[in-house]
Amino acid sequence: MKDILFLAWSYLIYYRGRTAVIVASLTLVVFLPLTVQVLVHYYEAVLARRAQETPMVIGAPGSSYDLVLNSLYFKGRSLPTLPMETVYDLRDTDLATPIPMHVRHTAGGFPVVGTSPEYFQFRHLEVKRGRFPTMLGEVVLGANAAERLQAAPGDTILTDDRNLYDLTSDYPLSMRVVGILEAAKTADDDAIFTDVKTTWVIGGIGHGHKKSDDMTAPSKFRAVGEDATIMSSAVVEYQRITRENLDTFHFHGSLGELPLTAVIAVPSDNKAATILKGRLNVNEDRQLVEPRQVVASMMDIVLVIQRFLNTIFGVVLVSTLLLLALIIVLSVRIRESEFTTLRKIGCARTRLLAAPACELGLLMAAGLIFAGTLTGIALLYVTQFRPLL
């Protein structure tokens, strides 16, 4: 066997160009379906795990997929909002613990998640360095976000401009980093967490500026009415929240009316969950979804696409194998005189057949090994460097 392996190896090495082409083809036709299969299973598992850990999400009417993607994975389109009152109402029922979510802004390319301290307990998130936010304008960074932004407690980060060319848009808010979270291998690693009020300040719903008592110049008032005073642009708003100017930050209107993108509801028990579903399903201005069901429905769509891709890959695989068979037939024909010589010398028929079979085996093994390695690298890359979810 060792000698046959040697002959087969020598042949493949001598015709290395041809060998490389065949191995590359085999690698490709195995790598593509294998990687799709492995990554789909990986994402399915990741999606399902987080979905199963999140019993219910309440949002404004709209796409349940967008609601789940935004509130669980901080991805997807901007959601229609529902009022903060939803949290207060839910809390009053004693049926569930409400966790407000406001995911609309970004800083350094990472989503800024406005929430409450309950979120960290709910997701079992621990601080690796520093502490959790306790004051307006403070943030705690997910592990990946901290690493990518090269940020540490004490640093400040700016929110991203939503539209650079819109002069009327909100100015970026400088936020103080007070902590870094332990890596959780979830979407939380790629997010920046803060109090929900801070996200309202980022969105311009809340702001801080010098008190009007200090301002004597009439030029600082654009209009003065019975209900409101509109200040001119001469009044500079604070773009950084500090202990000194904290008291000047305020929100116009009732807090209950301020927007949230979602509310995570953690029912106290199954009975509470059933009652909650019954109550909210008849409410037209809100929707309640169970992420587990939504993700299962999303995966059904993904699996249909995967089946379609598998069919294509199957056709490509068959074509490649047919081409490989053709190459082998032509190769055997070209090498007929070589085989005749070996037979005349006295080579046994089994050894004569074993050499090209061994070559084929080595080619296929190389293709499989390369494909497996590439798939492993792809999976490693996705899990270590690009968790996505």
Binding site: Y14, T341, R343, I345, G346, A348, R349
Partner: protein, 232 residues
């Protein structure tokens, strides 16, 4: 039929191809141990066919072939092949070196093809000795495509003798080589003075290469005539 002490014996052999009307009849041919016999004759006279019959590559329709008292024509193909690789050296008209093996590995090829032989250190030493004797030592790590025709031929001859065969069959081993190189190649086959010299049966159409041979057998169309009496 009783075998004699002759190394190669063909007795009442008849062979014909399935297609065409060529047939070869050999009433009797005996070649003694260490004897060097040249087979000559015009193209199509059956020189190569006779060599293949004698080497056990072809199976005769009638009669028997004995090689070193081994009734090769009566054995199954697997036993014939096993005998050939162990005890017979073959040089072909077409050089038939494996292009993907170096010269050294081509020389050691019989060792790799037989489960009974091992390409051990002794075999490698022998490959080096043979290559030095044949003047191709500097080419051992090169591939056949990098060799001249004469060098390739010498590699083929060295490969045929590396296992110290009892009998060597050579089919037009000089091919299209120039006369000087042809002479060197034939001398390499003929004059391997290593104790018990092997029996040599060589096919050639060039009468000038038969000098130094013990016997020259001239084949005529479809039957054998011998210019010397058969020995045995």
């Amino acid at each position: 039929m009783e075998p004699t002490q002759a190394k190669v014996v063909l007795q009442d052999v008849r062979f014909s191809y399935r297609e065409g009307n060529f047939s070869l009849e050999v009433p009797e041919l005996k070649i003694n141990a260490g004897e060097k016999v040249a087979l000559t004759g015009p193209s199509g006279s059956g020189k190569t066919t006779l060599l293949h019959l004698a080497a056990g590559i072809f199976q005769p329709h009638r009669g028997a072939v004995w090689l070193d008292q081994f009734p090769i024509s009566q054995k199954k193909p697997i036993l014939r092949r096993r005998f050939r690789i162990r005890h017979i050296g073959m040089v072909f008209q077409e050089l038939e070196l494996l292009e993907y093996l170096t010269v050294k590995e081509n020389l050691l090829l019989p060792y790799r093809l037989s489960p009974e032989l091992r390409p051990d250190k002794l075999a490698r030493t022998r490959a080096h000795e043979l290559a030095r004797h044949a003047g191709i030592e500097s080419t051992l790590d090169r591939y056949p495509a990098q060799l001249s025709q004469g060098e390739r031929q010498r590699v083929a001859i060295c490969r045929a003798v590396i296992t110290k065969p009892r009998i060597i069959f050579a089919d037009e081993p000089t091919g299209n080589l120039d006369p000087a190189t042809s002479g060197q190649c034939v001398a390499l086959l003929r004059d391997r003075g290593e104790g018990a010299e092997p029996t040599l049966m060589m096919v050639t159409h060039d009468r000038s290469l038969t000098d130094g041979f013990d016997r020259v057998i001239e084949l005529d169309q479809s039957f054998m005539t011998m210019n010397k009496a058969s020995v045995g």
